[in-house]
Symmetry: C2
Subunit: 560 residues, 2 copies
Amino acid sequence: MSHPLFEKHRALLERAVEAIRGRGYWSPYSENPKSYGENAIEEGRAAFSAYFDAQFYLDQPGVAGRVMSESSPFGLTLDIAYPQCNPDALIAAAKGAMPAWIKAGPDARAGVCLEILARLGAHTMEIAHAVMHTTGQSFMMAFQSGGPHAQDRGLEAVALAWREMKEVPETALWEKPQGKNAPLVLEKSFTVVPRGVALLLGSATSPTWNGYPALFASLATGNPVIVKPHPSAILPLAITVAVVRQTLKEAGFDANLVSLLVDDSGTPVAKEVAQKPDVRLIDLAGRADYVEWFDDNARQARVFAERAGVNCVVIESTADYKAMLRNLAVTLSLYSAQTSSTPQTLLVSSEGVKTPAGTHSAEQFGRDLSVAISALLEDNARAVEVLGAIQSTDTVTRIDAVREQGAERGVILRDSSPIPHPQWPQARVHTPLLVQIDVADRQIYAEECFGPISFVVETATVSEALAVAERIAREKGALTFTVHSTNPVIQQLAEEAAMRAGVALSLNLTGGLFVSQSAAFSDYQGTGANPASSASLVDSDFAAARFFVLQTRRHVVAAQ
Amino acid sequence: MSHPLFEKHRALLERAVEAIRGRGYWSPYSENPKSYGENAIEEGRAAFSAYFDAQFYLDQPGVAGRVMSESSPFGLTLDIAYPQCNPDALIAAAKGAMPAWIKAGPDARAGVCLEILARLGAHTMEIAHAVMHTTGQSFMMAFQSGGPHAQDRGLEAVALAWREMKEVPETALWEKPQGKNAPLVLEKSFTVVPRGVALLLGSATSPTWNGYPALFASLATGNPVIVKPHPSAILPLAITVAVVRQTLKEAGFDANLVSLLVDDSGTPVAKEVAQKPDVRLIDLAGRADYVEWFDDNARQARVFAERAGVNCVVIESTADYKAMLRNLAVTLSLYSAQTSSTPQTLLVSSEGVKTPAGTHSAEQFGRDLSVAISALLEDNARAVEVLGAIQSTDTVTRIDAVREQGAERGVILRDSSPIPHPQWPQARVHTPLLVQIDVADRQIYAEECFGPISFVVETATVSEALAVAERIAREKGALTFTVHSTNPVIQQLAEEAAMRAGVALSLNLTGGLFVSQSAAFSDYQGTGANPASSASLVDSDFAAARFFVLQTRRHVVAAQ
C-alpha cells in the first residue's frame, strides 16, 4: 500500500519532523567536502564544465528557442543555452500532471521529494560550482550554503508540509447518537488538494538555498512548480529541475510537475506569467518595489516574498571587544554582504561601547571595526574566500555612489577597493565600504544599500539607538537585528523593540556564528511580521497556505 | 508555572485536538435543552428580555453615543441601545492590551479561551433567544446552532490554534559540533506573536456560529479582536463580548483585548475600520461584491472570507426516492434556506431519476419535490419551526422578483407564500419558491438568489448536469455540492468534478443529516478553493496565518 520511496525515506522524514519540534542543531547532509569522496570537488568541476558552450538538455513541452544569459562574477565564460519554453505550454503540462500527483497522497509525495533531495545530494559538488560561478559566492560558501544547507531547507519544508498534511485523516466514520433512534452515520474522506500552479522566481545570489523551501513545500503539498531562475543564475536551478524531472519520471509521475522557465534581462517573463489565472502561488525575493508589483498585480495568487530591508546592529557593551569586532568584520565581509540578512547600519550611543577594558567612543569603535575588517582581508588569497565576487555590476555602482555621499555628508572609515583574485583575474572583488554618518542623515543609512556597504551612526543614547533600529525595521523591514550588550536591562529593551518590530534578535554574537547565517530546523528566516518578508522559512503557514482540504461525505444506513 | 485556567481545561483541550485528528463525531456541549436545567429556556428568555428597552452595558473606552438598530424578524421590539465607541479608541486600547497577552503564552491564552467558552455555555439559552430574535432562526435552531454548535466551532478553533502554536518550542539549545574545536552553542527562545488587531464582521444570519471560529482563533493566537456585528444582529455578539471581557478581567488580563464596535445601516463603519493600518486580520461573510471590496481595499490585512455562492444538487439515481425527497425538502426549507451552504440549483438529466420503483422524469421529480415540501410545511405550527422567519426584507423582495422571472421564463413548481406564525403575528414567514427553468437560462439559476428560492433544471445528460454544477462552483463559488447516485461511475465522476471545483461533496444524503449542516471537529466549512470562500472552518491555515514566530538567539560560551 505504502509507496516504496516513502518507506525508503520514512525514518529521515520522521527525524526531520522531530528536529523541527526541538529546534536544536541537526542536519543529515554533510558540510565537510571530504565526506563527498576523495575527488568530489574535481569531479563536480568536471560535471559543471561539461555544460559550457552547449545546449542544456530538458525534455520540456513548448520549446520555442534558446536563451543564453549568464555571465560569471568570476569572469568564467559559461555560454550555456537553455531551452526557452512557452509559459502557457508549461502551465498546461503542469495542470495535466496534477491529478495523479494529488491522488498519490501526502506520503508518496513526501517520499518522492526526499528521493529528489537524496539525488540532489549526489550532485552537490556540481551544483556548488554552478552556484559559485553564477552568484559570486566563494567555492566553500557555494558548496555549504548552496549544497547541504539548501538541502536542509528543502527537507525542512517537506517535513513541515508532511506534518501539516498528516493532521488531516484520510477517512473518518462520523456516528452521531440520536437518543433512542439509530445513530446518524456518515463515511467521510478527506483529500489534500493543492492551491494550483506555483511559480518560483529564483534569487540571483542564493538560487538553491532561497529556492528549495518553496520548491519542496509546493511540490509536497501537491502543487506543480514552474521554476523561473534569475537570468544571471540559471544553472543551479536548471540542474535541480533536471534532477527533479528525472526522479519524478522514474517514480512513475509526470515530469512536467516541475519545469524550467528561462528568460533574459531584455525580455523578462516573470510578470506576465505571474498574472496567469492558473498561477496560484508565487515565491520570490527581491527589491521592495519589485515585490510590491507582484503583491499588487498577481492578486489571484498567494505571494510569499522576501523583500530587501535594512538590518541594524546596536552596540552598547560587550564582554569581549576583540571577538565582537572580529564577528562583525566577518559578518560585513562574508560574500560581500550580498545577503538580505547582513547588517547595514551599526548604531552606537555617544556614551560609547562599554568593555572590560574601559569604554570606547563611537568614533573609536568605527576605527576599530575598520581595522578589524582590514586585518581580516589583509591577505588577498584569504580575502577572496571570504568576500567572493560581486554578483551584479549595479552593486559596484552603488558602492561608488555611497562613497561620494559618505565623503560629502560623513566620514569614510574604510574605503572599498577592488582587489585581484589570485585564481580568477577577471573576478569582481571589492572590499567593504564603512562610512560614519550623522544620525540626522536617515535618507542615507536607513535606505537599503545592498552589497558591502555599512554605516556607523552615533546616537545620543542607547535608547535612541534601539528606537532608530526599531523604526527602521518597522518602516523599511529587517530580517535580522543584532544587539551587543551585557546589561540585562538593555537586553530586555532590545527584546521588546524586536517584538514590536517583528524582527528576529541575535544577542552578543562573538563566536563562529554570524548573524547573516540561519540554520534550518532551528532558525526561522524572516518572520512575516515586518516589511522585509511576507513569509517565514519555514513556519506552519508557509506549508499550510499551499493546500486545501476537500471532503466527501456519504450517508451510511446504520445496522439496526 | 502553568496557568490555572490551562490546567482546569487541559483535558478538554487535548480531547478536542484528538477529535480534530480523528474527525469522527464529538462534542462536549449538549444540544439537548433539557440538560441545561428544568427551566433553562424560560430563564434564558427572562435574561434576554432584561435587555429590552435599555442600555447595554459595556465598560469600553471612547464611548461617543448610543446605537439602536435591531428589528426582529419575529416582530418583537428590542430597543436595545449599545454604546457606540470611537474605532481609534478601541484600536489603541486593543494595542495596549497586547503585550501582556503575548507574554502569557499559548497555554494561558488557550486556558482563558476555554474558560470563556465555559461561561458562554452558561449563557446558552439567553444567547439562543438573542440569536432567534435577531436572525429569524426558530428557537430550536437558534439554540443548537447558535449555542452548542457555535461553541463547538470556537473550541475547535482554540484547539487548532493551540496545536499549531505548540509545534514551536519555547526554547532550544543549538549546539553545532566544530570538529576538534569546541562546539558552537546558542541559546534560542521562540515567541508566538500575533499578526495585529483583528476585525470580525458579524453575520446577520449566524452571528455566533459564523463568528466564534475567527474570534477564538484570533484571540488564542494573541490577536486582540474588535467585534463589529451586523446592525441587525448585535445582541448575540454583544452578550458574547460582555462574557469575554468579564472573563479576561477576572483572569487578570485587559478586557480591551476584545471589544464591541456597533454601527447602524445608515452610517456603516466596517470599511473605514478595515483600512486602519493596525487592523491586520479581517474575518467576514457576505455578498461577493461586498467581500471583494475588502480584498481590494484592506490590503494591509489578511482577509478570511466566506462569500455567497451557488450550491448545486445533481440527482441521477437513488435507493430511496421518498427519503431523498424528504431530505431535499427539509434542506430547502430549513431556516428558509438562509445559509450560504443551502443548495439553490437542482440538476436532473432528461434521462430522469432512477429509483428501485422505476425512473422518474425531471418534470416528475420537480412535482414530487414540490409535494414533499408542501407536505413538510402542511401544518403551520410545525412549518414555522422549520422555516423560521425571513431575516431581511430584501429576501422577500427577491422571492417576488424570481417568481416573476420564473413565471415568464419557466414553470412555478411551488409558489412561495406568507404564512401566519401562531406565536408571533408579525413574523416574516414565507414558504419556499421552487421554479423549473431551462438550462439555457444560466443568468437565472446560476446567479445567487439568497433565501428560500430554488431551481429545478433539466440537462440533456448526467454528464452535462455534473459539468454545469462544476462550472457554477468554479465561477460563482459553492460551499456544498450534493449528488444522489447509486452508480459508482457517476459517484466517481462527481468526486472528480468536486475536486476540480474545490468544493465539498455530499453523496446520497437520505437520512437525518442535511447538506447545509456542518459539524465541528469533522466537517470543513468552506475550502478556500473556489470563489465561495477564502478560508476553511477550521483548517491549519485558518490558525497558522494569524501568528508569526519571533526568535531571540544568544551566544553561549561553551565549557571547554
